[in-house]
Amino acid sequence: MNNDHHSRPDPDALLADLLRTEADARSGRLFIFLGMCPGVGKTYAMLKAARQRLLEGVDLLAGVVETHGRRETAELLEGLPVQPLRTLDHRGHELHEFDIDAVLLRKPALVLMDELAHSNVPGSRHAKRYQDVLELISSGIDVYTTLNVQHIESQVDTVRQITGVTISETVPDSILDCAHDIELIDLSVEKLLGRMSAGKVYMGERAELAAASFFKEANLTALREMALRFTAEHVDRDLEDIRRARRVSTPWRTNARLLVGVGPSPYAESLIRWTRRAAMRQGCQWLVVWVEGSRPLAREDQERLARSLNLARKLGAEIVSVTGDNVGAALLQVAQERNITQIILGKPGPRMLFQTSMADEIIGNSGDIDVCLVRPVLANSRLARSYRKPARGEDAPGRFAEYAWAVGISLGGVALGYAVFAATGYVFIGLMFLLGIIFAAMRFGRGPVLLLATLSALSWDFFFIEPYFTLHINKLQDVIMFGMFFIVAICMGHLTTRIREREQAEIRRQRQTTALLRVTQSAALSAEPDDGLREALSTINELHRADTALFVRNSNSDRSLSATPHPAGTFVPSAKEWGVINWVYDHKQPAGRFTDTLPTSQATWFPLQTSTAVMGVLGIHLDEDAGLDFGARVSVEAYALQLALVLEKEQIVQAVNRAQLHHQSERLQRTLLDSVSHELKTPLTVIQASLEGMAAAQISSPYLEELNTASRRLQRVVNNLLQMTRIESTAVRPAQEWCLLGDVIQEAVSTSAIGDALARHPLSIAIPDDLPAVRLDSHLVAQAITNIVHNAAVYTPADTPIIIGASVHPGSRSGSVATLRITISDGGRGLNPGDEERVFEKFYRAQGSPAGGTGLGLSIARGLIRAQGGDITAGPRHDGAPGAEFIITLETETMAG
């Protein structure tokens, strides 16, 4: 029974499988040729595979291929179409880089991109080549690429441990997850060393690899193992995914959830990588939690933290940021709220007193949750040396003055004490010093207050406690009092500063919240949407001391981005920025300064994205030396969301208004049409009825015949004119239904529809029996066919045949959408050359046509078909016989009967 439950396929897994299949179908596929180190023959293998594909007729293009002067490789490259590199000018140097725009424009089926971990030269669109690759994939192009295992983000630590080399060019692990296939290019160490000594291995551009004797046998063996294991893990996961979806004896995944607590320390990155690896192994979700204390972080720490959190984001973690001074308690709270099964912490070193207590606290209170202490490794030893534990980030400029004030206050205290000493005694002076400390603590930072407390205690002892002018104290009572004074002073100073710091942090948060609220309110509540946007943007200006620019998409129906910035912005970007703005709009990702994409831009650009659409792009332009930290970035993203919602609302309102107006004008038109038809048709009815009455009364006269013919003709003209008006006023709304085409055609040529026009022509309907049911507005299609057949009957000599045929052609898109083609051929003289389009013009009548037509029938037919998204064309018959042929083409769903 338990087994039953367990063998049920996980719906999420099925869905994920489906989504992946769907994503595979939509976007391009990524094939990675993975090797343990340079020289194993990745490029060679990639080129061989590419040649195979070329033989299969795939439209491929070599984007970047590094032959490193190897003859075999260069030979393989011969004959492949190569995309020339783009030349960039960087400070007078000519640099060459992959030309992504040219490739996107050419849109081949497959692109070869050597060296996935390569960093692009400055001035390129993306900082990294893998970002180019991602963009290629997302625009539906397959990519072959090569990668060494040491460049994988999560393997960097291990590689450094093994080889002592720090790898700076890395690719995030997430890109490997979107790989369709990873092919391991393996070579035994012995063979590789053999190839090296034969000079067949390119050592890499950086001297560090060679210098650190990267290619030692021990290293290579370790790297090879890494590559093998990494591939095995990936294969394993793929297999698992397939199994889970296909219900092949399901190894059930645990509901594990990992949480890693990080701070601004450089160890954070290593913790994040460790957790990612653990999460991958267990196949579970993982959270990275950053507890923001009340003290502001120093600039340097902020940047480091932002880097760590960005890394976590890249690796696919969910990032949670909470506030609280007690880091342990805050982490535990998150852990309990999110049902975490394991908390990962950095193993506290002997020096780190603070962390020890936190780890202990967490272990003590963790209850059911596992706690795992990990020995963090520094990715960069230089960083480790320079790193100090973050103290606090106080604004440096005011600090010297505060220390001076501290000294000043204690001196003042001494002076004042001397003045009143005789009258009050030393206890009073002690209290006076305490008062000074409290005042100071309300204004100054922790350091000056501690200095003041120490100075006060010492000067109290030195000047006012017997024996005077020594630090010696005689009476035990005074010693105790001095001790108490010192403790009280320090505690007071500490507590007051802490309260104040909390208060300031609160104010800071308050300010952000208020700003967000202001942005929301001003944007949502103001009567004029533009005013709201202006106010919202000025709030952002104030809070971040930044200039802003706003680009909004044109409207609900025209989704292109407006080329002129919104007048509410204060920053006018240069023409060069336009590329970034469009990129952000198209890719729904932030880009520009402080990001990895086009970092040389003037400003940082954020997409204004709602759940359904991208409404525009918000640009933040900061001063030259300012930075955009994690918190600021999060809040800008929050504003962007608010603005997006406001803009969306505004555009929806506009669309509704337009629709209403349209509706009104439609109603007016309809009323007009109704009264015109009434006025025209009533007399026609009278004429018709009178004629019939006369016929019934057996009155016969040649005049009566003429009258009859004229009346019918008038009726036809009036009907055509009214119908044409209706088509032009777009009052024709197709109502689709499933029907069999033969049925529709029968209806179109029935006497009730077409009258006696067909009496003089043999009609043949040639429709294949297996024609599937189609979904269309049968009424409109039948009417269009009627008009064309009527036209053919009138304009061709008697007894010439009229042939109606139909066929269904599978559409280019997948699914049941197909192209329906109905051909109506006649046996007349054919169209006059040049008339193929003109016959559909209103009131156009071909030369030599018999009298009595209005020249509206065909344009009505075309209007009816176009109302359903199809078209009618005319031309000579395809079978070569004389006569004209009209072809109706319609995209339609089909359903095999």
């Binding site: 038809s677 007399p683 009278v686 009825a689 019934a696 689709q736 069999l740």
Partner: protein
Amino acid sequence: MNATPRALIIDDEVQLRRLLRLALESRGYEVHEADNGARGLSEAVFRKPDVILLDLGLPDLDGLQVLKRLREWTETPVLILSVRDQEDVKVTALESGADDYVTKPFSTAELLARLTVIQKRGKPAETPVLQAGKLTLDLSQREVLLGGEPLKLTPIEYSLLRLFMQNSGKIITQRQVLTTVWGPNAADQAQYLRVYVTHLRKKIADAAVEIRNEPGIGYRLVLLV
């Protein structure tokens, strides 16, 4: 049927009224006229007509409104005369209780034929056997004979045919077909209806009846003579 059936014409066009009166009187109708909606309603009360011819474009009231007011108290067959040949107007009229419609300009012969059909509706045949052309449908046996031979139909085709034969000659809107055959929540069947009808048509091709499609409105079973 009464000795002299009474017809009420509600139309504001005097010429049309005169013509209709001529045509109807020649067929033995006793004709009453009203030139606006309000008068039409009161005439309908006083004269107790057997059939009402109602123009949709009236000077005081909308024809549809007149129809609705009529339907509040009487089941007298109503034939709509209209210049509006948009399908939705016709469907609305039929679903508001009209029995049939003719679009101006109309042929008098057709108008009279329609009148005869809808007048019959007032008194449904009480026999369990329906007849149309060469078709015989036995309601009690759920059996259909075509020219004396049993005809095999699927349950849905049977229900469709029964509905058409019960309303022989009369127009039935698409929605009426759907709700009768498939039940009240059958809106999603609408797109398949045509296919079912096509299949049914093939089976009764030789029955001297035709299920005629009234584009955009519905169906009508017509006897071929």
